[in-house]
């Protein structure tokens, strides 16, 4: 029997009220009741305020079962359709409908119920634990009372957003898949929603559409075979009836691409290759034939500007890493692409790092915002790049507005005529080892920033590292890495905090406040109209900062693992919730050089926590 068939068989069991198997007293004034689900090792836990429920264990069980009943009834009433109109207005939706909340990618919610005055009473209302020990990078996506999370190795779980009850679970079959060309942990960054469907992109290069209410597969489409260079880890994007995804593979000599599919049928619509072939725009920026294994992965979800009908998508590093092997600009690696969403045609591009030799992927989310720079108003994109520079780009014409370093940045040395130039003395060769900053893990890796329209600040998870790097022998073989460099990540000599969360004024590009972290800060950020910024630490605390000043206003109890995922927030029945997945992993503990022993003792395992006001 397949895993899916087993899950279907068990599905009916999940729809009955959870059987309470344990209640544990807690010293902080509330009581934990553990409702174990029907599969081993995973369970949801709901916390009930003890001051309101001074009941016997039996009574607590009864009250919990009753409390679950209205939510179940509400769910049965139906699943709110996700329409183009709702997605276009996702910013104001009560749920959290897409990866970075809205097409602008701001990770900003207009909710004020949880605010600077009361956030210190935030407490856990339920949690859900997963048995997998790899990294958890998924943003909880919420529509009505349905929440969707993904886990390592492409499990997709639907839960009741109010109670934590598991509604269904889908495990992507991975028969014969070796996960050989997945560089940085077997992660997934979440789902997209459209109509009645929920969409996931997988490590074996499938796009899967499932019925959001049942978990039944509606269609699935394989874009590339597994284990030959390609993999997908990103949350898909829904736009105008299309589901849009991008492939990873810049460490394996894949030729990567952005793919649009029909969201209803899975039919392939257009493909935007991200390394330019001869005869096409940028085709003369590669040595003969090297674009075929040139990388240019597109492994993070893009953004969309309705006012110009432009899809923005970031492109990753060139393959192999050692630039000496591929003279030229190597377009469109490390670039921002502005695309016509109906065809995938390039309107313009901006290359963040020319002829990259340091693995500075340009995939970090291009966030749409208005800004005022030197007295002039701009419709801008802001972007904190792996290369350590914070870019503001005119999103109408692709011209640079400004660039400012947000960590020590020596590889990209400066800008001339709006374009970056590199320090050629810091390019490694087979005989020369260099030392440069930031390391290939970046001044910021994929961890999403948040841009707050109230404060005009971008909240940027930051990594302070440098590296040694030297050329090394390499060869292309489908299914093996294709790097051509050896390296070691070390401290920035001038900054001995591995990580930080910093606020950058988008009108100047300059730092407004900074929260240092001895451990790396590998989690995404979210801001709210309540004047708050939420983000999580490697030590396993979810923080709420004053968005204006950076003052810590609340810190969660220590969660079961470190945090590398972004939080989300949503409203159900007039109540605001904040959700976060703990589950240490990702690229840092694999590639992190001197950081590896520092983070080695962080506990592993996934745990979704949902908080609300007391």
């Amino acid at each position: 029997m397949t895993m899916f068939a087993r899950l279907l068989r068990n599905a009916s069991a999940w729809h009955v009220p959870c059987r309470i198997v344990a209640c544990d007293g807690l010293p902080v004034g509330y009581r934990t009741c553990r409702a174990r689900q029907q599969y081993s090792g995973e369970y949801s836990t709901m916390k009930v305020n003890q001051t309101k429920h001074r009941l016997s264990r039996l009574w607590l069980g009864v009250s919990l079962a009753v409390a679950l009943a209205p939510a179940t009834a509400a769910l049965a009433a139906g699943y709110p359709q996700v329409t183009n109109a709702r997605l276009a207005a996702a910013q104001n939706d009560n749920g959290w409908l897409m990866f970075r909340r809205d097409y602008a990618g701001r990770s900003y919610a207009p909710f004020k119920q949880i605010n600077t005055a009361n956030v210190n009473t935030l407490h856990e209302v339920w949690s859900y634990q997963s048995h997998l020990k790899q990294g958890y990078e998924s943003t909880p996506i919420v529509n009505g009372q349905y929440m969707f999370i993904t886990t390592p190795k492409d499990h997709l779980i639907a839960l009741n957003a109010v109670t934590g009850k598991v509604l269904w679970k889908y495990v992507k079959p991975m028969k014969g898949v070796g996960f050989k060309t997945v560089c940085c942990d077997v992660v997934n960054r979440g789902v997209a929603l459209y109509g009645d469907n929920v969409y996931m992109a997988t490590l074996d290069n499938y796009v899967v559409a499932l019925n959001a209410m049942t978990g039944k597969v509606v269609w699935q489409r394989e874009l590339k075979p597994a284990d030959v260079g390609y993999a997908m880890t990103l949350a898909p994007m829904i736009l105008k009836g299309m589901v849009i995804v991008g492939e990873s593979g810049g460490e394996y000599g894949a030729r990567d691409f952005i793919q649009a599919l029909d969201a209803k049928t899975g039919a392939l619509l257009w493909r935007r290759w991200t390394t330019a072939a001869p005869g096409h725009l940028g085709g003369n920026t590669w040595p003969k034939g090297m674009y075929k294994h040139g990388g240019g992965s597109a492994w993070l979800t893009g953004t969309y500007d309705a006012s110009t009908n432009t899809l923005f998508w970031g492109v990753g590093n060139p393959s192999p890493w050692l630039a000496k092997l591929r003279p030229g600009l190597n377009l469109f690696t490390d670039s921002l692409l502005a695309l016509d969403p109906s065809t995938g045609k390039i309107k313009w591009y901006y290359q963040y790092t020319p002829h990259d030799s340091w693995d500075y992927d340009g995939v970090n989310t291009p966030v749409l915002t208005s800004l005022s720079y030197h007295g002039k108003e701009y419709k801008a994109i802001v972007h904190a790049d792996r290369n350590g520079w914070f870019y503001a780009i005119n999103r109408v014409n692709g011209k640079l507005i400004y660039a400012e370093p947000f960590t020590r940045a020596t590889s990209v040395e400066g800008f001339k005529d709006g374009l970056p130039y590199t320090n050629n003395a810091l390019r490694p060769t087979m005989t020369k080892q260099i030392f440069t900053c930031p390391s290939f893990l970046g001044g910021k890796n994929w961890w999403p920033i948040s841009v707050d329209p109230q404060t005009h600040m971008a909240y940027v998870p930051t990594m302070h590292t440098c590296m040694t790097m030297k050329g090394a022998p390499t060869f292309y073989h489908a299914g093996l890495p294709y790097l051509g460099e050896s390296f070691e990540v070390v401290h920035d000599p001038a900054d001995h905090s591995w990580g930080a969360l910093q606020a950058i004024n988008v009108d100047t590009g300059r730092q407004a406040w900074n929260h240092d972290s001895a451990l790396p800060w590998d989690a995404g950020a979210m801001s709210t109209a309540g004047g708050l910024v939420f983000s999580g630490s490697a030590r396993g605390h979810l923080y709420a900062f004053d968005a204006q000043t950076g003052k810590i206003l609340w810190r969660s109890p220590k969660l079961s693992s470190g945090i590398i995922a972004p939080p989300s927030t949503f409203m159900v029945n007039g109540k605001q919730y904040v959700a976060i997945l703990a589950g240490w992993g990702g690229g840092t503990p694999i590639w992190g050089g001197k950081m590896v022993p520092v983070v080695k003792s962080i506990p592993r395992g996934g745990h979704l926590y949902v908080f609300a006001l007391r």
Binding site: K133, Q134, G135, G176, V177, G178, F179, K180, V182, D185, V186, D227, A472, P473, T474, F475, H477, A478, G479, L480, P481, L483, S486, F487, E488, V489, G585, P589, I590, W591, G592, G593, V596, K600
Partner: protein, 169 residues
């Protein structure tokens, strides 16, 4: 006749098991002592990403029919060259050539290659065009000449000494 054939295979450094199964003989490329030492180094340097039992964790599995498949078309030199230059990912190339060779020996053992009398060297590993295919656990147990090169009983940090050494006569 059977004895002669077996002796011929042994003299060529090949295990007999492959031919018993009607397949090409599986070459013996390393000694049991190398695999034993490689196991200990693997546990220290590799297991954190690839799993204590090479089953894969955040990095891929390094044994079995999916890893060492015909489709993957790996040769021993491919894996050795990549590993010795780029692994471990947190400090590529930081181990000694002997450590890389021993880890290669361990991975060969875990993929069903038999141990033999001749030691694997960095030069041999980096030029071996032997296909890296999974041959199953039986090849290890049935490989000739293993007992002669098995190390003394495991000591110190080696928590899981090589199973074929324990099973050898």
């Amino acid at each position: 006749m059977r004895l002669r054939r077996a002796l011929l295979a042994l003299s060529l450094g090949f295990a007999a098991l492959g031919s018993q199964r009607g397949e090409a003989a599986v070459p013996a490329l390393y000694t049991a002592a190398q695999a034993h030492t490689g196991h200990a180094t693997y546990e220290q340097k590799c297991a954190m990403c690839h799993g204590k039992h090479e089953q894969g964790m955040v990095g891929p599995a390094l044994k079995g029919p999916i890893f060492a498949s015909k489709k993957a078309n790996y040769k021993v030199e491919d894996i050795y060259l990549f590993m010795s230059v780029n692994m471990p990912a947190y400090a590529p190339g930081s181990l000694t050539p002997k450590q890389y060779v021993d880890i290669m020996a361990f991975l060969l053992r875990q993929n069903g290659f038999p141990a033999g009398q001749s030691a694997l060297t960095s030069k041999l590993a980096s030029s071996s065009t032997v296909p890296l295919l999974y041959h199953g656990p039986k090849a290890v147990q049935a490989s000739p000449g293993v007992a002669a090169t098995c190390p003394p009983a495991a000591t110190g940090s080696v928590s899981n000494p090589s199973s074929h050494c324990k099973q050898s006569p």
